[in-house]
Protein backbone atom coordinates (compact mmCIF):
# COMPACT_ATOMS: atom_id res chain seq x y z
CA UNK A 1 0.00 0.00 0.00
CA UNK A 2 2.82 2.28 0.84
CA UNK A 3 4.35 1.34 -2.43
CA UNK A 4 1.23 2.44 -4.25
CA UNK A 5 1.24 5.84 -2.67
CA UNK A 6 4.84 6.44 -3.51
CA UNK A 7 4.89 5.00 -6.98
CA UNK A 8 1.85 6.88 -8.16
CA UNK A 9 2.93 10.23 -6.81
CA UNK A 10 6.45 10.34 -8.10
CA UNK A 11 7.18 13.57 -6.26
CA UNK A 12 7.14 11.82 -2.93
CA UNK A 13 9.06 8.85 -4.19
CA UNK A 14 12.27 10.76 -4.70
CA UNK A 15 13.07 11.41 -1.09
CA UNK A 16 16.77 12.27 -0.74
CA UNK A 17 18.42 9.14 0.48
CA UNK A 18 19.67 10.59 3.76
CA UNK A 19 16.24 11.75 4.72
CA UNK A 20 14.80 8.48 3.53
CA UNK A 21 17.19 6.62 5.75
CA UNK A 22 15.88 8.48 8.73
CA UNK A 23 12.28 7.92 7.84
CA UNK A 24 12.61 4.33 6.70
CA UNK A 25 13.27 2.28 9.81
CA UNK A 26 16.48 0.33 9.38
CA UNK A 27 15.85 -3.32 8.60
CA UNK A 28 12.10 -2.89 8.20
CA UNK A 29 11.68 -1.13 4.91
CA UNK A 30 13.78 -0.54 1.82
CA UNK A 31 13.69 1.46 -1.36
CA UNK A 32 13.87 -0.14 -4.79
CA UNK A 33 16.95 1.32 -6.50
CA UNK A 34 15.20 1.02 -9.85
CA UNK A 35 11.65 2.38 -9.39
CA UNK A 36 12.33 4.09 -6.03
CA UNK A 37 9.29 2.49 -4.46
CA UNK A 38 9.56 2.07 -0.71
CA UNK A 39 8.47 -1.33 0.50
CA UNK A 40 8.52 -3.66 3.48
CA UNK A 41 11.55 -5.92 3.41
CA UNK A 42 9.35 -8.72 4.68
CA UNK A 43 7.11 -8.38 1.63
CA UNK A 44 10.13 -8.15 -0.64
CA UNK A 45 11.55 -11.32 0.86
CA UNK A 46 8.29 -13.15 0.29
CA UNK A 47 8.66 -12.23 -3.37
CA UNK A 48 12.23 -13.62 -3.54
CA UNK A 49 13.64 -10.10 -3.30
CA UNK A 50 12.10 -9.18 -6.63
CA UNK A 51 10.38 -5.78 -6.70
CA UNK A 52 6.67 -6.26 -7.25
CA UNK A 53 6.42 -2.89 -8.88
CA UNK A 54 9.11 -3.09 -11.56
CA UNK A 55 10.55 -6.60 -11.41
CA UNK A 56 13.97 -5.39 -10.27
CA UNK A 57 16.01 -8.28 -8.89
CA UNK A 58 17.50 -7.15 -5.59
CA UNK A 59 20.77 -8.72 -4.58
CA UNK A 60 20.65 -11.88 -2.53
CA UNK A 61 23.08 -12.96 0.10
CA UNK A 62 24.73 -16.32 -0.56
CA UNK A 63 22.58 -18.13 1.99
CA UNK A 64 19.38 -16.50 0.76
CA UNK A 65 20.27 -17.78 -2.69
CA UNK A 66 20.93 -21.26 -1.39
CA UNK A 67 17.59 -21.26 0.44
CA UNK A 68 15.79 -20.24 -2.72
CA UNK A 69 17.58 -22.75 -4.91
CA UNK A 70 18.15 -25.99 -3.05
CA UNK A 71 15.64 -28.39 -1.52
CA UNK A 72 15.03 -27.46 2.08
CA UNK A 73 17.58 -28.87 4.48
CA UNK A 74 19.64 -30.50 1.75
CA UNK A 75 22.63 -28.14 1.85
CA UNK A 76 25.94 -29.34 3.20
CA UNK A 77 28.64 -26.72 3.15
CA UNK A 78 32.29 -27.28 2.13
CA UNK A 79 35.40 -25.49 3.35
CA UNK A 80 33.63 -23.05 5.67
CA UNK A 81 36.79 -22.15 7.55
CA UNK A 82 38.87 -20.67 4.74
CA UNK A 83 39.72 -17.01 5.08
CA UNK A 84 41.93 -14.60 3.21
CA UNK A 85 45.66 -14.54 3.75
CA UNK A 86 47.64 -11.51 2.72
CA UNK A 87 50.33 -12.71 0.32
CA UNK A 88 51.40 -9.21 -0.77
CA UNK A 89 51.21 -7.60 2.68
CA UNK A 90 48.78 -5.22 1.12
CA UNK A 91 47.85 -2.19 3.24
CA UNK A 92 44.58 -2.67 5.17
CA UNK A 93 43.65 -5.88 3.36
CA UNK A 94 43.31 -8.12 6.39
CA UNK A 95 41.44 -5.44 8.32
CA UNK A 96 39.00 -4.93 5.47
CA UNK A 97 38.46 -8.66 5.12
CA UNK A 98 37.79 -8.89 8.84
CA UNK A 99 35.30 -6.04 8.60
CA UNK A 100 33.49 -7.81 5.79
CA UNK A 101 33.40 -11.03 7.79
CA UNK A 102 31.80 -9.11 10.60
CA UNK A 103 29.37 -7.31 8.31
CA UNK A 104 28.28 -10.30 6.22
CA UNK A 105 28.76 -13.13 8.71
CA UNK A 106 30.56 -14.90 5.87
CA UNK A 107 34.16 -16.02 5.90
CA UNK A 108 34.72 -15.17 2.25
CA UNK A 109 32.97 -14.05 -0.93
CA UNK A 110 31.80 -17.51 -1.97
CA UNK A 111 29.86 -20.27 -0.25
CA UNK A 112 30.24 -23.75 -1.68
CA UNK A 113 28.63 -27.07 -0.90
CA UNK A 114 26.25 -29.71 -2.12
CA UNK A 115 22.57 -30.39 -1.97
CA UNK A 116 19.63 -31.31 -4.14
CA UNK A 117 17.34 -29.41 -6.46
CA UNK A 118 13.99 -31.13 -6.99
CA UNK A 119 15.67 -34.23 -5.66
CA UNK A 120 18.62 -34.21 -8.04
CA UNK A 121 21.98 -33.92 -6.30
CA UNK A 122 24.31 -31.15 -7.35
CA UNK A 123 27.39 -29.32 -6.19
CA UNK A 124 26.83 -25.60 -5.91
CA UNK A 125 28.82 -22.41 -5.41
CA UNK A 126 27.27 -19.04 -4.63
CA UNK A 127 29.12 -15.74 -4.56
CA UNK A 128 28.14 -12.90 -2.30
CA UNK A 129 28.79 -9.43 -3.68
CA UNK A 130 28.70 -7.86 -0.22
CA UNK A 131 32.05 -9.40 0.66
CA UNK A 132 34.86 -7.39 -0.95
CA UNK A 133 32.54 -6.80 -3.95
CA UNK A 134 32.45 -10.53 -4.48
CA UNK A 135 35.99 -10.32 -5.80
CA UNK A 136 37.97 -13.48 -6.49
CA UNK A 137 41.13 -13.96 -4.49
CA UNK A 138 42.90 -17.13 -3.44
CA UNK A 139 40.10 -18.35 -1.16
CA UNK A 140 37.36 -17.87 -3.74
CA UNK A 141 39.47 -19.60 -6.39
CA UNK A 142 40.36 -22.46 -4.07
CA UNK A 143 36.81 -23.03 -2.84
CA UNK A 144 35.43 -23.08 -6.38
CA UNK A 145 38.21 -25.41 -7.53
CA UNK A 146 37.57 -27.78 -4.62
CA UNK A 147 33.83 -27.70 -5.28
CA UNK A 148 34.47 -28.68 -8.89
CA UNK A 149 36.70 -31.53 -7.69
CA UNK A 150 33.90 -32.66 -5.34
CA UNK A 151 31.54 -32.71 -8.31
CA UNK A 152 34.04 -34.84 -10.21
CA UNK A 153 34.48 -37.23 -7.26
CA UNK A 154 30.75 -37.59 -6.77
CA UNK A 155 29.89 -37.70 -10.47
CA UNK A 156 27.61 -34.70 -9.98
CA UNK A 157 26.69 -31.54 -11.81
CA UNK A 158 28.09 -28.20 -10.79
CA UNK A 159 26.12 -24.97 -10.56
CA UNK A 160 27.84 -21.67 -9.94
CA UNK A 161 26.05 -18.42 -9.13
CA UNK A 162 28.44 -15.59 -10.00
CA UNK A 163 28.16 -12.18 -8.35
CA UNK A 164 31.46 -10.39 -8.53
CA UNK A 165 33.25 -7.22 -9.44
CA UNK A 166 36.18 -9.29 -10.76
CA UNK A 167 39.63 -10.07 -9.48
CA UNK A 168 40.68 -9.13 -5.96
CA UNK A 169 43.26 -6.44 -6.48
CA UNK A 170 44.78 -6.81 -3.02
CA UNK A 171 46.04 -10.26 -3.98
CA UNK A 172 47.63 -9.11 -7.23
CA UNK A 173 48.75 -11.87 -9.57
CA UNK A 174 47.57 -14.50 -7.07
CA UNK A 175 44.06 -13.34 -7.84
CA UNK A 176 44.67 -13.08 -11.59
CA UNK A 177 45.82 -16.69 -11.68
CA UNK A 178 42.64 -17.89 -9.94
CA UNK A 179 41.00 -17.27 -13.32
CA UNK A 180 43.29 -19.88 -14.83
CA UNK A 181 42.93 -22.19 -11.84
CA UNK A 182 39.12 -22.29 -11.84
CA UNK A 183 39.03 -22.63 -15.63
CA UNK A 184 41.54 -25.47 -15.50
CA UNK A 185 39.35 -27.21 -12.92
CA UNK A 186 36.37 -26.84 -15.25
CA UNK A 187 38.44 -28.47 -17.96
CA UNK A 188 38.76 -31.49 -15.67
CA UNK A 189 34.98 -31.48 -15.19
CA UNK A 190 34.50 -31.34 -18.95
CA UNK A 191 36.83 -34.28 -19.44
CA UNK A 192 34.55 -36.34 -17.18
CA UNK A 193 31.50 -35.32 -19.20
CA UNK A 194 29.87 -33.56 -16.28
CA UNK A 195 27.48 -30.65 -16.50
CA UNK A 196 28.32 -27.09 -15.49
CA UNK A 197 25.56 -24.51 -15.31
CA UNK A 198 26.74 -20.93 -14.87
CA UNK A 199 24.19 -18.51 -13.46
CA UNK A 200 25.32 -14.93 -13.90
CA UNK A 201 23.71 -12.59 -11.41
CA UNK A 202 24.16 -8.90 -10.76
CA UNK A 203 26.99 -8.00 -11.13
CA UNK A 204 29.32 -10.39 -12.98
CA UNK A 205 32.26 -8.46 -14.38
CA UNK A 206 36.01 -8.44 -14.98
CA UNK A 207 38.04 -11.50 -14.14
CA UNK A 208 35.06 -13.56 -13.01
CA UNK A 209 33.12 -12.82 -16.17
CA UNK A 210 36.32 -13.61 -18.14
CA UNK A 211 36.80 -17.01 -16.51
CA UNK A 212 34.48 -19.63 -15.01
CA UNK A 213 31.28 -17.55 -15.26
CA UNK A 214 31.42 -17.59 -19.06
CA UNK A 215 32.28 -21.27 -19.31
CA UNK A 216 28.99 -22.96 -18.51
CA UNK A 217 27.68 -25.70 -20.74
CA UNK A 218 24.62 -23.58 -20.15
CA UNK A 219 24.90 -19.90 -19.29
CA UNK A 220 21.86 -18.35 -17.63
CA UNK A 221 21.45 -14.83 -16.27
CA UNK A 222 18.96 -13.06 -14.07
CA UNK A 223 17.05 -10.15 -15.66
CA UNK A 224 18.82 -6.83 -15.58
CA UNK A 225 22.09 -8.26 -14.29
CA UNK A 226 25.19 -6.27 -15.22
CA UNK A 227 27.56 -8.60 -17.04
CA UNK A 228 30.70 -7.57 -18.86
CA UNK A 229 34.45 -7.61 -19.18
CA UNK A 230 35.46 -3.98 -18.93
CA UNK A 231 34.00 -1.45 -16.53
CA UNK A 232 31.46 0.94 -17.97
CA UNK A 233 33.50 3.97 -16.92
CA UNK A 234 36.64 2.64 -18.59
CA UNK A 235 34.77 2.06 -21.83
CA UNK A 236 33.22 5.52 -21.73
CA UNK A 237 36.63 7.07 -21.13
CA UNK A 238 38.07 5.09 -24.03
CA UNK A 239 35.38 5.87 -26.57
CA UNK A 240 34.50 9.31 -25.17
CA UNK A 241 30.77 8.86 -25.38
CA UNK A 242 27.93 7.76 -23.14
CA UNK A 243 26.89 4.16 -23.40
CA UNK A 244 23.26 3.14 -23.84
CA UNK A 245 21.46 2.18 -20.63
CA UNK A 246 21.01 -1.45 -21.58
CA UNK A 247 24.71 -1.91 -22.39
CA UNK A 248 26.18 -4.97 -20.62
CA UNK A 249 22.82 -6.07 -19.23
CA UNK A 250 21.71 -9.68 -19.30
CA UNK A 251 19.29 -8.78 -22.08
CA UNK A 252 22.11 -7.15 -24.09
CA UNK A 253 24.19 -10.30 -23.75
CA UNK A 254 21.29 -12.52 -24.76
CA UNK A 255 20.78 -10.35 -27.84
CA UNK A 256 24.47 -10.69 -28.71
CA UNK A 257 24.55 -14.44 -28.41
CA UNK A 258 26.43 -14.68 -25.13
CA UNK A 259 23.73 -16.35 -23.03
CA UNK A 260 21.38 -19.31 -23.36
CA UNK A 261 18.56 -17.72 -21.42
CA UNK A 262 17.58 -14.87 -19.16
CA UNK A 263 15.46 -16.40 -16.43
CA UNK A 264 13.42 -14.60 -13.77
CA UNK A 265 14.19 -15.56 -10.20
CA UNK A 266 10.64 -16.87 -9.93
CA UNK A 267 11.38 -19.54 -12.55
CA UNK A 268 15.05 -20.10 -11.81
CA UNK A 269 14.85 -23.03 -9.40
CA UNK A 270 12.48 -24.88 -11.66
CA UNK A 271 14.62 -24.20 -14.73
CA UNK A 272 17.74 -25.47 -12.97
CA UNK A 273 15.82 -28.53 -11.75
CA UNK A 274 14.64 -29.33 -15.25
CA UNK A 275 18.14 -28.95 -16.69
CA UNK A 276 19.59 -31.19 -13.97
CA UNK A 277 16.94 -33.83 -14.58
CA UNK A 278 17.58 -33.78 -18.30
CA UNK A 279 21.24 -34.49 -17.62
CA UNK A 280 20.62 -37.13 -14.97
CA UNK A 281 17.84 -39.24 -16.44
CA UNK A 282 18.42 -42.16 -14.10
CA UNK A 283 18.92 -40.30 -10.85
CA UNK A 284 16.27 -37.73 -11.62
CA UNK A 285 13.81 -40.21 -13.09
CA UNK A 286 11.93 -41.00 -9.94
CA UNK A 287 11.39 -37.40 -8.93
Amino acid sequence: MLRDIFSKKKKYATIPSEQAKQEVPEGLMTKCPNCKTIMYIKELRKNKMVCEGCGYHHRLSAYERIDLTLDEGSFQEFDVDMIAKDPLQFPDYLEKSAQDREKTKLNEAVVTGEGTIQGVPTVIGVMDARFRMGSMGSVVGEKITRAIEKAIEGDKSFIMFAASGGARMQEGVFSLLQMAKTSAALNQLNERGLLFISVLTHPTTGGVSASFASLGDINIAEPGALIGFAGRRIIEQTIRQKLPDDFQTAEFLLEHGQLDQVVSRHQLRETLGTILELHHPVKGGEV
Binding site: L88, R101, S138, A167, L176, L177, K181, A185, F212, I239
Partner: protein, 325 residues
Protein backbone atom coordinates in the same frame (compact mmCIF):
# COMPACT_ATOMS: atom_id res chain seq x y z
CA UNK B 1 65.36 12.52 -25.90
CA UNK B 2 62.19 10.50 -25.97
CA UNK B 3 64.04 7.21 -25.56
CA UNK B 4 65.63 8.39 -22.38
CA UNK B 5 63.87 7.57 -19.13
CA UNK B 6 64.07 10.12 -16.35
CA UNK B 7 66.11 7.93 -14.01
CA UNK B 8 68.64 7.34 -16.79
CA UNK B 9 69.49 11.05 -17.05
CA UNK B 10 72.85 10.88 -15.21
CA UNK B 11 73.94 8.01 -17.44
CA UNK B 12 73.02 9.82 -20.63
CA UNK B 13 74.70 13.01 -19.44
CA UNK B 14 77.93 11.22 -18.69
CA UNK B 15 77.76 9.39 -21.96
CA UNK B 16 77.33 12.66 -23.83
CA UNK B 17 80.28 14.14 -22.00
CA UNK B 18 82.48 11.21 -22.99
CA UNK B 19 81.48 11.46 -26.60
CA UNK B 20 82.14 15.21 -26.53
CA UNK B 21 85.63 14.59 -25.19
CA UNK B 22 86.23 12.01 -27.87
CA UNK B 23 85.14 14.42 -30.57
CA UNK B 24 87.34 17.09 -29.04
CA UNK B 25 90.29 14.71 -29.03
CA UNK B 26 89.77 13.87 -32.66
CA UNK B 27 89.23 17.45 -33.78
CA UNK B 28 91.92 19.23 -31.81
CA UNK B 29 94.44 16.46 -31.60
CA UNK B 30 94.76 16.84 -27.82
CA UNK B 31 95.21 13.62 -25.90
CA UNK B 32 92.46 13.30 -23.29
CA UNK B 33 92.53 9.52 -23.10
CA UNK B 34 93.35 9.50 -19.40
CA UNK B 35 90.34 11.67 -18.64
CA UNK B 36 88.12 9.63 -20.97
CA UNK B 37 89.18 6.39 -19.37
CA UNK B 38 88.35 7.77 -15.94
CA UNK B 39 84.92 8.87 -17.09
CA UNK B 40 84.28 5.56 -18.80
CA UNK B 41 84.96 3.63 -15.67
CA UNK B 42 82.71 6.06 -13.80
CA UNK B 43 80.01 5.41 -16.40
CA UNK B 44 80.43 1.68 -15.94
CA UNK B 45 79.93 2.10 -12.20
CA UNK B 46 76.98 4.46 -12.66
CA UNK B 47 75.23 2.00 -15.00
CA UNK B 48 75.80 -0.78 -12.53
CA UNK B 49 74.38 1.32 -9.72
CA UNK B 50 71.32 2.54 -11.57
CA UNK B 51 70.44 -0.51 -13.67
CA UNK B 52 71.41 -2.92 -10.94
CA UNK B 53 69.00 -1.37 -8.45
CA UNK B 54 65.90 -0.68 -10.48
CA UNK B 55 62.80 -0.05 -8.44
CA UNK B 56 59.44 -1.42 -9.63
CA UNK B 57 58.34 1.82 -11.22
CA UNK B 58 61.61 2.08 -13.17
CA UNK B 59 61.07 -1.45 -14.44
CA UNK B 60 57.54 -0.49 -15.53
CA UNK B 61 59.06 2.34 -17.54
CA UNK B 62 61.54 0.00 -19.21
CA UNK B 63 58.75 -2.50 -19.91
CA UNK B 64 56.88 0.32 -21.66
CA UNK B 65 59.91 1.73 -23.48
CA UNK B 66 58.98 2.80 -27.00
CA UNK B 67 61.98 0.91 -28.39
CA UNK B 68 61.33 -2.28 -26.42
CA UNK B 69 61.48 -5.33 -28.68
CA UNK B 70 58.13 -6.86 -29.58
CA UNK B 71 56.94 -10.36 -30.41
CA UNK B 72 57.86 -9.99 -34.09
CA UNK B 73 61.40 -8.84 -33.16
CA UNK B 74 61.93 -12.05 -31.23
CA UNK B 75 60.21 -14.25 -33.80
CA UNK B 76 62.59 -12.97 -36.46
CA UNK B 77 65.59 -13.90 -34.32
CA UNK B 78 64.50 -17.14 -32.69
CA UNK B 79 62.68 -19.03 -35.42
CA UNK B 80 63.34 -20.04 -38.98
CA UNK B 81 60.77 -20.51 -41.75
CA UNK B 82 58.23 -18.45 -39.82
CA UNK B 83 54.90 -18.15 -41.60
CA UNK B 84 52.31 -15.81 -40.16
CA UNK B 85 48.74 -17.08 -40.26
CA UNK B 86 45.74 -14.84 -40.08
CA UNK B 87 42.16 -14.77 -38.92
CA UNK B 88 39.83 -16.46 -36.47
CA UNK B 89 37.54 -17.86 -39.22
CA UNK B 90 34.61 -16.25 -37.41
CA UNK B 91 34.89 -12.51 -37.65
CA UNK B 92 38.23 -11.08 -38.72
CA UNK B 93 41.96 -10.82 -38.29
CA UNK B 94 43.11 -9.04 -35.18
CA UNK B 95 46.50 -7.42 -35.68
CA UNK B 96 47.04 -7.06 -31.94
CA UNK B 97 47.91 -10.75 -31.93
CA UNK B 98 50.30 -12.40 -34.37
CA UNK B 99 50.68 -16.12 -34.78
CA UNK B 100 51.96 -18.77 -37.08
CA UNK B 101 54.32 -21.68 -37.47
CA UNK B 102 58.05 -21.97 -37.78
CA UNK B 103 61.05 -23.89 -36.55
CA UNK B 104 62.84 -23.58 -33.28
CA UNK B 105 66.26 -25.22 -33.58
CA UNK B 106 64.85 -27.43 -36.29
CA UNK B 107 61.66 -28.42 -34.47
CA UNK B 108 58.28 -27.30 -35.86
CA UNK B 109 56.46 -25.09 -33.36
CA UNK B 110 53.48 -22.77 -33.21
CA UNK B 111 54.24 -19.23 -32.11
CA UNK B 112 51.66 -16.74 -30.85
CA UNK B 113 52.07 -13.35 -29.26
CA UNK B 114 50.58 -9.98 -28.54
CA UNK B 115 51.87 -7.39 -30.97
CA UNK B 116 52.29 -3.71 -30.18
CA UNK B 117 53.31 -1.06 -32.64
CA UNK B 118 56.49 0.97 -32.37
CA UNK B 119 55.06 4.21 -33.66
CA UNK B 120 51.64 5.83 -33.63
CA UNK B 121 50.69 4.59 -37.07
CA UNK B 122 51.52 0.99 -36.30
CA UNK B 123 49.99 1.25 -32.85
CA UNK B 124 46.70 2.32 -34.35
CA UNK B 125 46.81 -0.59 -36.77
CA UNK B 126 47.55 -2.97 -33.90
CA UNK B 127 45.23 -1.29 -31.38
CA UNK B 128 48.24 -0.72 -29.09
CA UNK B 129 48.56 -4.47 -28.67
CA UNK B 130 45.14 -4.76 -27.03
CA UNK B 131 43.27 -7.66 -28.62
CA UNK B 132 39.62 -7.87 -29.49
CA UNK B 133 37.81 -11.22 -29.05
CA UNK B 134 38.78 -12.26 -32.59
CA UNK B 135 42.44 -11.99 -31.57
CA UNK B 136 41.99 -14.50 -28.79
CA UNK B 137 39.94 -16.72 -31.04
CA UNK B 138 42.66 -16.63 -33.69
CA UNK B 139 45.15 -17.59 -31.00
CA UNK B 140 42.94 -20.48 -29.92
CA UNK B 141 42.50 -21.66 -33.50
CA UNK B 142 46.27 -21.77 -33.94
CA UNK B 143 46.70 -23.57 -30.61
CA UNK B 144 44.19 -26.25 -31.59
CA UNK B 145 46.02 -26.60 -34.88
CA UNK B 146 49.28 -27.02 -32.97
CA UNK B 147 47.68 -29.74 -30.86
CA UNK B 148 46.47 -31.61 -33.92
CA UNK B 149 49.96 -31.68 -35.39
CA UNK B 150 51.66 -32.20 -32.01
CA UNK B 151 53.64 -28.99 -32.16
CA UNK B 152 54.73 -27.24 -28.96
CA UNK B 153 53.31 -23.77 -28.49
CA UNK B 154 55.35 -20.71 -27.59
CA UNK B 155 53.47 -17.61 -26.42
CA UNK B 156 54.89 -14.13 -26.08
CA UNK B 157 52.91 -11.97 -23.70
CA UNK B 158 53.01 -8.22 -24.20
CA UNK B 159 49.80 -6.27 -23.68
CA UNK B 160 48.37 -3.59 -21.46
CA UNK B 161 45.20 -5.64 -21.48
CA UNK B 162 42.35 -6.81 -23.65
CA UNK B 163 40.54 -4.13 -25.62
CA UNK B 164 37.89 -2.41 -23.49
CA UNK B 165 35.39 -1.23 -26.10
CA UNK B 166 31.77 -1.60 -27.16
CA UNK B 167 32.49 -4.02 -29.97
CA UNK B 168 34.65 -6.21 -27.77
CA UNK B 169 31.77 -6.52 -25.32
CA UNK B 170 29.30 -7.22 -28.10
CA UNK B 171 31.46 -9.99 -29.50
CA UNK B 172 32.09 -11.54 -26.10
CA UNK B 173 35.47 -10.44 -24.80
CA UNK B 174 34.86 -12.28 -21.54
CA UNK B 175 33.97 -15.50 -23.29
CA UNK B 176 36.93 -15.26 -25.65
CA UNK B 177 39.38 -14.91 -22.76
CA UNK B 178 37.67 -17.54 -20.61
CA UNK B 179 37.58 -19.99 -23.52
CA UNK B 180 41.33 -19.66 -23.99
CA UNK B 181 41.91 -20.34 -20.31
CA UNK B 182 39.94 -23.57 -20.26
CA UNK B 183 41.19 -24.75 -23.65
CA UNK B 184 44.84 -24.03 -22.90
CA UNK B 185 44.47 -25.97 -19.67
CA UNK B 186 43.53 -29.03 -21.71
CA UNK B 187 45.94 -28.87 -24.66
CA UNK B 188 47.99 -32.03 -25.13
CA UNK B 189 51.13 -30.25 -26.28
CA UNK B 190 53.78 -28.32 -24.33
CA UNK B 191 53.11 -24.61 -23.83
CA UNK B 192 55.87 -22.19 -22.92
CA UNK B 193 54.96 -18.58 -22.15
CA UNK B 194 57.32 -15.65 -21.98
CA UNK B 195 56.23 -12.25 -20.72
CA UNK B 196 58.36 -9.86 -22.76
CA UNK B 197 56.84 -6.48 -21.88
CA UNK B 198 53.67 -5.71 -20.01
CA UNK B 199 51.48 -8.60 -18.91
CA UNK B 200 48.22 -6.81 -18.32
CA UNK B 201 45.48 -8.72 -16.57
CA UNK B 202 43.10 -11.21 -18.23
CA UNK B 203 44.15 -9.98 -21.65
CA UNK B 204 47.65 -11.28 -20.94
CA UNK B 205 46.56 -14.43 -19.12
CA UNK B 206 44.52 -15.49 -22.17
CA UNK B 207 47.88 -16.48 -23.72
CA UNK B 208 49.37 -17.47 -20.39
CA UNK B 209 48.09 -20.85 -19.26
CA UNK B 210 51.35 -22.64 -19.94
CA UNK B 211 53.55 -25.39 -18.54
CA UNK B 212 56.29 -22.83 -18.05
CA UNK B 213 55.88 -19.13 -17.45
CA UNK B 214 58.98 -16.99 -17.75
CA UNK B 215 59.37 -13.27 -17.50
CA UNK B 216 62.06 -11.01 -18.85
CA UNK B 217 63.76 -9.26 -15.96
CA UNK B 218 62.16 -5.89 -16.71
CA UNK B 219 58.73 -7.10 -17.74
CA UNK B 220 55.64 -6.84 -15.56
CA UNK B 221 52.64 -9.04 -14.89
CA UNK B 222 49.67 -7.63 -13.07
CA UNK B 223 46.00 -7.95 -12.32
CA UNK B 224 45.50 -4.25 -13.06
CA UNK B 225 47.81 -1.49 -14.31
CA UNK B 226 49.60 0.53 -11.62
CA UNK B 227 47.60 3.59 -12.73
CA UNK B 228 44.33 1.68 -12.52
CA UNK B 229 45.19 0.28 -9.11
CA UNK B 230 46.11 3.72 -7.80
CA UNK B 231 42.88 5.22 -9.11
CA UNK B 232 40.79 2.50 -7.50
CA UNK B 233 42.66 2.21 -4.24
CA UNK B 234 43.63 5.76 -3.50
CA UNK B 235 41.46 7.63 -6.01
CA UNK B 236 44.61 9.08 -7.50
CA UNK B 237 46.25 7.74 -10.66
CA UNK B 238 49.42 9.73 -9.93
CA UNK B 239 50.20 7.28 -7.14
CA UNK B 240 51.02 4.67 -9.81
CA UNK B 241 54.60 4.47 -8.59
CA UNK B 242 53.44 3.42 -5.16
CA UNK B 243 50.96 0.98 -6.67
CA UNK B 244 53.71 -0.59 -8.78
CA UNK B 245 55.56 -1.37 -5.57
CA UNK B 246 52.56 -2.51 -3.54
CA UNK B 247 51.09 -4.74 -6.23
CA UNK B 248 54.27 -6.84 -6.72
CA UNK B 249 54.22 -6.86 -10.49
CA UNK B 250 57.89 -7.15 -11.42
CA UNK B 251 59.71 -10.32 -12.45
CA UNK B 252 61.90 -10.42 -9.32
CA UNK B 253 58.84 -9.97 -7.08
CA UNK B 254 56.80 -12.62 -8.86
CA UNK B 255 59.72 -15.05 -8.88
CA UNK B 256 60.07 -14.59 -5.15
CA UNK B 257 56.35 -15.21 -4.67
CA UNK B 258 56.71 -18.44 -6.63
CA UNK B 259 54.23 -17.35 -9.30
CA UNK B 260 56.57 -17.73 -12.27
CA UNK B 261 59.01 -20.45 -13.28
CA UNK B 262 61.94 -18.26 -14.09
CA UNK B 263 63.29 -14.81 -14.77
CA UNK B 264 65.20 -14.34 -18.00
CA UNK B 265 68.11 -11.95 -17.43
CA UNK B 266 67.92 -8.76 -19.41
CA UNK B 267 70.60 -6.77 -21.14
CA UNK B 268 71.79 -4.04 -18.77
CA UNK B 269 69.55 -1.03 -19.30
CA UNK B 270 66.81 -3.04 -20.99
CA UNK B 271 66.18 -5.47 -23.83
CA UNK B 272 66.09 -2.63 -26.39
CA UNK B 273 69.82 -2.08 -25.90
CA UNK B 274 70.67 -5.29 -27.74
CA UNK B 275 67.81 -7.24 -29.23
CA UNK B 276 70.01 -9.98 -30.71
CA UNK B 277 71.61 -10.69 -27.37
CA UNK B 278 68.25 -10.58 -25.62
CA UNK B 279 66.88 -13.12 -28.09
CA UNK B 280 69.83 -15.35 -27.23
CA UNK B 281 68.91 -15.17 -23.56
CA UNK B 282 65.35 -16.19 -24.37
CA UNK B 283 66.58 -19.01 -26.60
CA UNK B 284 68.34 -20.62 -23.65
CA UNK B 285 65.06 -20.83 -21.70
CA UNK B 286 63.02 -22.07 -24.65
CA UNK B 287 65.54 -24.76 -25.44
CA UNK B 288 65.72 -25.98 -21.87
CA UNK B 289 61.98 -25.98 -21.25
CA UNK B 290 61.00 -27.58 -24.56
CA UNK B 291 63.50 -30.32 -23.89
CA UNK B 292 62.10 -30.99 -20.42
CA UNK B 293 58.48 -30.87 -21.55
CA UNK B 294 59.18 -33.03 -24.58
CA UNK B 295 59.86 -35.94 -22.24
CA UNK B 296 56.45 -35.79 -20.55
CA UNK B 297 53.53 -37.82 -21.88
CA UNK B 298 50.50 -35.97 -23.23
CA UNK B 299 48.25 -36.89 -20.32
CA UNK B 300 50.86 -36.14 -17.67
CA UNK B 301 51.40 -32.79 -19.30
CA UNK B 302 47.75 -31.80 -18.84
CA UNK B 303 47.67 -33.16 -15.30
CA UNK B 304 50.85 -31.38 -14.29
CA UNK B 305 49.60 -28.15 -15.82
CA UNK B 306 46.39 -28.47 -13.82
CA UNK B 307 48.32 -29.10 -10.62
CA UNK B 308 50.60 -26.16 -11.31
CA UNK B 309 47.68 -23.76 -11.40
CA UNK B 310 45.72 -25.57 -8.71
CA UNK B 311 48.55 -24.98 -6.26
CA UNK B 312 48.46 -21.22 -6.71
CA UNK B 313 46.84 -19.39 -3.81
CA UNK B 314 47.48 -18.34 -0.24
CA UNK B 315 44.89 -19.28 2.32
CA UNK B 316 44.30 -19.01 6.03
CA UNK B 317 41.87 -20.92 8.20
CA UNK B 318 39.78 -19.52 11.00
CA UNK B 319 40.69 -20.95 14.32
CA UNK B 320 38.12 -21.51 17.01
CA UNK B 321 34.41 -21.39 16.43
CA UNK B 322 33.41 -21.12 12.83
CA UNK B 323 30.99 -18.51 11.65
CA UNK B 324 28.24 -20.51 10.04
CA UNK B 325 24.85 -19.42 8.93
Amino acid sequence: MADQLSFEKPIFELRNKISELKTFTAEKGIDLSGEIEKLESRLEQLEKDIYGNLNPWERVQIARHSKRPTTLDYIERLFTDFLEFHGDRLYGDDKAIVGGIGRFQGQAVTIIGHQRGKDTKENIKRNFGMPHPEGYRKALRLMKQAEKFKRPIICFIDTKGADPGIESEERGQSEAIARNLIEMAGLHVPIVCVVIGEGGSGGALALGVGDRIYMLENSTYSVISPEGAAALLWKDASLAKRAAETMKITAPDLLELGLIDGMIPEIRGGAHRDVDQQANEIRVYLEKSLKELGNISELDLVQKRYEKFKNIGEINHVSGPIAVK
